[in-house]
Amino acid sequence: MKPIGKAFFAMALVVGLGLSLVTTWAEGGEAKVVCRVETDRKVLPAGGPQNVVIKVSLDAPLAPSAMERPRVNLALVLDRSGSMTGAKIERAREAAIEALKRLGPGDLFSLVVYDDTIDTVVPAQGIENIEGIIRKIRQITPGGSTALFGGVSQGAAEIRKNLGRDYVHRIVLLSDGLANVGPRTPEDLGRLGAALIKEKISVTTIGVGTDYNEDLMARLSQKSDGNIYFVESSDDLPMIFAAELGDVLNVVATQVRLFIDMPKGIKPLGIVGRQGRIRGGQVELSMNQLYGGQEKYALVEVAIPASTTGSTMEVATARVVYDNPFTKRRETVTARSVARFSDSSAAVERSTNKDVIREYQLNLNALSQEKAIALSDSGREEAAVDELKQSAAKLKKVGIMYKDSVLLEQAEALDIQAETIKQKGMSKKSRKVLRTESYQMKNQQKSK
């Protein structure tokens, strides 16, 4: 064996050992995010140029039970405007206490309530004095108007007291009304969300009843990568808080950024459902955080050049970069997808990836729902109903074609919704359902 060969062998051994070491460790609770790149069909029809949908999925591992979870810095922002009287404030208080009880030692909790003025009821603190905090929560009574912007700002100020440290920062905003003091356009609140995520603060919004401004709440959540919930009955609040806390306590990846590189000749056409940028052959997206056991994905439509049967082509390479809050390390995972071309339409048919097609259709449906809201807002209710019905019909068609029960169910539900809107007009509730669903779909929200 030549010296070079020896050296190579030694290096391979070291690397191999290292890899196996890493693997063993990973089994001990440090599983990485799994990245998959799939096309809607594994076998593509050979011939002229065509468009293909690529789905890049990120499968978050379950949070390792043996390791200490990242600590949580939770700020609860409660609307206590005049409309929150009776059962609503009662449930909100219960929910806040519920959330509080799920926190553990080392976590931080703060509580801000707002009407036209903003009060920090509980400044950011550990939960050692849980009884004292609960007592303060029980004293919250509903008051005047709604300074939502100020409330969230104050919540952020409480979070910020411990910003530099290793926490999962989260504001949970609960409101049942329209903001009427301070900035109150979806645009402004969106910008606030966008600014907060830069400080790694996410805002989850919970809308109660049918009077809140869903656009504003959705935008705030979306831009700050929080969850969004629509709660019609305040009875569901404790459950929602539990689910949200479950998510927050279960963050396995933060600062998630996804880069999808296409080889020369393949041209990205657009990103479905998510915001991102396309630089030549590279698509860049950010997803901020992943919860344990969650699957998040990005759908990209690409144009593929002409090909011959039997040939293969690398379609995309995905690179995921994220922070692991358990190990506090920056991780990178890659995956690639290779497509085969064939003349046989049966082979193409057989290779269909139902999963990709379903998610693609559901995302297109989410976009249709948003379009329907926009149409209804501009007074064209009939066009909105048509849009929803068309989307439902399309979902149904694809659902039948691929015998997909999820799509068929969704198609049916959407059809019923469209019919309701046709008969009764776009009610506040319908609008909220559409807005919330479309956001949850596009963001692959785990808890719904």
């Binding site: 300074a147 301070g182 402004d188 910008r191």
Partner: protein, 571 residues
């Protein structure tokens, strides 16, 4: 007349100074009130000014720090650094790099940009296509910033609590830290400033308040090399607002509210409570860096009432004071009036009594002297003279008795000897004894009595005095009526009634209430036709009441007076 005039003078002396005092006090109070209101407004405006300056200094500091940071960027890693800022710095909304005369180098229009970046490009299209000059923007360059001192802010914050002030300072520091994305920037920037300005290009920079999409945006730019690009950032106003909102000093006085209002007249931050439609008491411009942004100061009704309260309480006190003066004055005037009247009555009483005493004395003396001279020898004449002397001395006795009784009654020293008395027999005896006098005055007595005796327990002498005084009164004033009637009846109400009525001229209506008052005479002049002390009826009533009865007066229909004496029956 003099009495009335003196009362008028008293009142004038009392009321005129009081009125003057009220007017002066009222004016002083109004001024004081105005001063208090103005002071409240000035204080509130001062606070508003402090808020404006805090915002101005913060924004100015943020802009200066960001400019310094921009200047210090390594030109080779310009885009990388800027995009990193955009991704991680909450104060940075967008970044750009632009070479004059070329299209935007970053962000690139098209798919490479995010939606936000595409909007950014559209927003500043007129700027990047040079339809609007970079440095002609009013208030754009840092040199034009309003010179305001940091010191002043701290001073005007004045009595704001220490912690609030500290929060504000800390908040500003946090924002300034954010505005220095690179830790070493401060040093580098200083170093840069220290370079002597020779042939080296002086970095140029500016901040442009930009109105688009019906709102304000703020764009900061620098140009560090003559041939180099212009690059910079768009400030994230929402971060600024969010941070300013939580870090601004909180004023918690009730009734005062401060609102930060943007160019569209929308409240972006509110401290305190404002009612819908309430007009601001003061409007202050925030800063030339945030054109058209204002701080509105609101004073609500309760606040003004707080000031008004002083006014109203003072007015009430003044009212009480004036009422005390007027009522005290009235009391004193009344007292003076009573005293004066008493004095007059006593004078009149003394002269009446003297006159009364003098008349019988004159008669007695005249007939006595006549008898003494011995020139009267006719026995019937002598008898007549003696009878006159006896009658006159009886009259004198009655008069003196009345005066004595009066003083006893006044001092509550009169004693009564109560015994069983038959009223019928008493009336008969009285009419018999005084019949001569009544007839002499030209009246015919008429007596109507019940059949049997009417026994009561009373003081016979006192009862006789009551009747005599009434008879005297009738003899003196009602002789022309020719009749004096005595009627004794059982009134079936615990009293027997003796009604003594004449057909004389009667008593004028205005005197009826007062005929039983002491010293009261209908004709008080010394030249009165009839003599009298004004004591008779007063004494009669006092005695009647002391004996458990009363005396009343009733006019007689056909003219004349009736005095009704009620005598308490035996139990």
């Amino acid at each position: 007349m003099t009495l009335k005039r003196s009362i008028a003078i008293y009142w004038a002396l009392l009321l005129i100074p009081t009125l003057i005092m009220v007017v002066v006090a009222f004016r002083l109070l109004s001024h004081e009130q105005e001063r208090i209101s103005r002071q409240a407004l000035e204080l509130a405006s001062g606070r508003g000014q402090a808020i404006c300056e805090t915002i101005h200094i913060t924004v100015e500091g943020v802009e200066d720090s960001l400019t310094a940071s921009l200047v210090a960027i390594d030109p080779d890693r310009l885009v990388n650094t800027l995009t990193r800022w955009e991704r991680t710095n909450p104060l940075v909304r967008n970044v750009f790099v632009w070479q004059e005369g070329a299209p935007l180098a970053y962000p690139v229009p098209g798919m490479e940009s995010t939606m936000e970046e595409r909007r950014f490009i559209r927003r500043y299209d007129s700027l990047f296509s040079k339809r609007i000059a970079w440095e002609s923007n009013p208030g754009a360059s840092s040199e034009e910033k309003a010179p305001q001192t940091t010191r002043k802010t701290v001073d005007t914050l004045g009595n704001v609590s220490q912690t609030t002030r500290e929060t504000a300072q800390r908040g500003r520091q946090a924002l300034l830290d954010l505005a220095r994305p690179e830790k070493r920037v401060a040093v580098v920037a200083q170093g840069l400033g220290a370079v002597p300005s020779g042939e080296r290009f002086q970095p140029r920079s500016g901040w442009i308040p930009w109105f688009a999409e019906n709102r304000l945006f703020i764009l900061g730019w620098v140009k560090v090399a003559e041939q180099g690009p212009v690059f910079g950032i768009e400030l994230e106003l929402m971060t600024l607002l969010s941070r300013l909102g939580t870090d601004l000093p909180r004023f918690t006085e009730p009734g005062i509210a401060y609102a930060l209002v943007d160019g569209n007249n929308e409240i972006v931050h509110l401290s305190g409570k404002v009612d819908g439609g309430q007009k601001p008491a003061a409007v202050l411009n925030v800063s030339p860096l945030l054109p058209h942004w204002q701080v509105h100061v609101f004073l609500d009704d309760s606040n003004r009432d707080g000031g008004r309260g002083f006014f109203f309480v003072s007015l009430i006190l003044l009212g009480i004071f004036v009422a005390a003066i007027v009522s005290g004055g009235a009391l004193m005037t009344w007292q003076a009036h009573i005293n004066k009247k008493d004095a007059l009555e006593k004078t009149s009483f003394v002269s009446s009594v003297s006159h009364e005493l003098k008349t019988p004395l004159t008669s007695i003396r005249m007939y006595g002297e006549l008898l003494q001279s011995g020139r009267i020898s006719a026995p019937e004449k002598v008898a007549h003279y003696l009878a006159v002397i006896v009658a006159e001395s009886q009259r004198l006795t009655r008069l003196v008795n009345n005066v004595l009784d009066f003083s006893r009654l006044e001092q509550d020293r009169k004693t009564y000897h109560v015994d069983r008395v038959d009223l019928v027999e008493l009336v008969i005896a009285m009419v018999e004894r005084h019949g001569i006098r009544i007839r002499a005055a030209g009246m015919e007595p008429g007596v109507f009595l019940p059949d049997g005796p009417l026994m009561v327990r009373t003081d016979r002498d006192a009862m006789e005095q009551v009747v005599v005084n009434i008879i005297d009164n009738a003899v003196k004033y009602a002789a022309e009526g020719k009749r004096l009637t005595f009627v004794l009846t059982d009134a079936n109400s615990g009293f027997y009634e003796l009604r003594i009525s004449d057909r004389g001229p009667g008593i004028p209506r205005e005197h009826r209430q007062r005929i039983f008052d002491k010293f009261h005479r209908i004709d008080t002049s010394l030249t009165a036709r009839k003599p009298g002390s004004g004591l008779g009826l007063s004494i009669a009533r006092s005695i009647a009441r002391d004996l458990g009865g009363d005396i009343g007066f009733e006019p007689v229909k056909q003219g004349g007076s009736a005095f009704i004496v009620g005598i308490k029956k035996d139990e």
